[in-house]
Symmetry: C2
Subunit: 345 residues, 2 copies
């Protein structure tokens, strides 16, 4: 799973299960992989967790990134156990000898390191500058990331990804624009502490959408106060929205309005869920385009562009296949009928 | 509620209840207004619906936009009944006499008209050009909008808002960039048939985020196959993410990870819901900043910037007020305690 160097933008998430629970981690990795996740990060707070990482790694369909805080022995143990990458801030692990040891071990196993700074854990000196008004948040975050980077570069280690996250959209955008200008490293882009599902999804989509549209960002992590599976779904949709991933099982469906005489949100969501389950089982198949439309004003026009379409009437749908009406279906039968055609197209 | 001319970007949505159900419309308008909605659109498919609009208008806290398709008599009746604006495509109402009649009535009552085109209802000529490869979708949508605009300008009517919606993000962005270049009208920006809640929220946030960040868009409508209240919440969050609305009841909260030992999504969502209810009752109050953090790595740092913060430990939280710890609270008491401080700050 290459990051940078022209590779497609990848989607990552982070475990929310106990780092010593191998079965729980493996199950979550499988669910995330089925949704399109490319990379999976888990915290390694102690040596036992490094052992768990090793056990999980043997069957994991995804590369694993070990998240290290403060303890360089956890970094060494994670590399030894088979971690595919580390997230570690070399300024926080206790001096040059330890940075050297980690850099040497990582280089020997060709393990890249992500440096990840954020406002909550900014160094004291930069925090003081910030509080005294001598610098701005984007400048301070960028300086912090580049300071950590220098420690690795001083050891001749260059396989580095950078991130510098703020919890608001405008600061995030300004910070990554600076980082992209001042460094050649691939960037891991994200908003930190973005909040609960709805506002967090919006903030991540706006920030990552704007940055990716400018060509900034080689890998993304959507942070939500919600399960990692949701983070993956949102991350995939951001890439799809920008044409950076092929369009997935998402469907075209209209907002309901006073003209709608079917339970459109229910049917559309059910069709989407069925398509996702189908896509997870046949990951290589190009999915047909599916539309679920509520009314006669825009429905037939939009339905023409879809391979399979439901177009709502009074309590029932007209089913279109390749633009031609093939019959009426009840609300109860709609999902099953759509999936019959999806399977053969 | 001015649109354009330097006014703040407004958020609108569209009714999904029967346009003859005055009580249902009034209740939905009140819910949308409490969430921050600025404008409310409803379809007027017949003369009875125009009467309903008139009845609803008398107590509505929001301006009402009558959505007209094909029948100019509905437009005249809606204006007469007190509609604050129309959405109508003058090329679709049956000839110059009718366009003149609508323009005259709208001017007399100073009712603006939004012209709203989308791919599903493109004129035959443009559709043929598109299918023959003589034009592109953004060019065709833009030409359609400007063609309708000319019909109103020919009658000397200039109080017009334009929209031209596609169902994918890249086409939407390209189309609105063209419209902004080729017209001085305020733009109503949106993605049509954006899909169910999760993908629709992402697509709208990416498209509208990119356009608004470029200064394109005077009013927005998020289209979701979901209730209008969700559209308003997403629309408000997009504007907040870009600093175009003051930050509302949304909280800062971290993604959960393997370090989290509290049910953070549940507590964070409950705090947010309580804040929303509080904000709806006291719309003019500036809300304190609230953070709900799960772990000891970034929690205390982020909590310092918040007026009230919960910082998770093992099954309980430390409560911070203005950056200082004031005591421990159980998960069960956390929301109540936060709201006690919110009420007095």
């Amino acid at each position: 799973m290459p990051v940078g160097g022209g590779a497609p933008v990848s989607v990552q998430t982070m475990a929310n299960v106990d780092p010593h629970d191998a079965a729980g981690l493996s199950a979550q990795i499988a669910r995330c992989a089925a949704l399109g996740c490319d990379l999976y990060r888990l915290t390694v707070p102690d040596l036992a967790a490094a052992q768990t990482l090793g056990a999980v790694r043997r069957t994991s369909p995804l590369p694993l990134i070990a998240d290290i805080h403060f303890d360089y022995r956890c970094a060494l143990a994670a590399i030894e156990a088979g971690a595919d990458a580390l997230r570690l801030n070399p300024g926080n692990i206790g001096g040059r000898d330890r940075v050297q040891a980690v850099a040497r071990a990582a280089r020997a196993k060709r393990v890249p390191i992500r440096i990840g700074v954020n406002l909550g854990s900014l160094e004291k000196g930069l925090r003081a500058d910030l509080e005294a008004g001598r610098t701005t948040v984007p400048e301070a975050l960028c300086a912090s990331a580049l300071g950590h980077l220098k420690l690795l570069e001083d050891e001749g280690f260059r396989d580095v990804v950078l991130s510098a996250k703020a919890s608001d959209v405008e600061t995030t955008i300004a910070t990554y624009r600076l980082l992209a200008e001042r460094s050649d490293c691939p960037l891991h882009v994200g908003v930190t502490e973005a909040g609960t599902f709805l506002p967090g999804t919006v903030r991540n989509s706006v920030a990552l959408g704007i940055l990716l549209a400018e060509g900034i960002g080689e890998t993304i992590r959507v942070s939500l106060t919600a399960e990692p599976e949701k983070e993956v779904r949102v991350g995939m949709e951001i890439l799809r929205a920008l044409g950076l991933k092929p369009r997935g099982p998402a469907i075209t469906s209209c907002p309901t309005c006073g003209r709608t005489k079917v339970d459109l949100p229910r049917v559309a969501t059910a069709v989407e869920t069925a398509l996702e389950a189908y896509a997870a089982k046949a990951p290589r198949k190009v999915l047909p385009k599916v539309a679920v439309m509520g009314c006669v004003v825009n429905g037939p026009g939009e339905a023409k562009g879809a391979d399979v379409a439901l177009c709502g009437g009074a309590g029932e749908f007209v089913l279109f296949v390749k633009g031609e009406p093939v019959g009426k279906v009840s609300e109860a039968d709609a999902v099953r009928k759509v999936m019959e055609y999806v399977a053969v197209l």
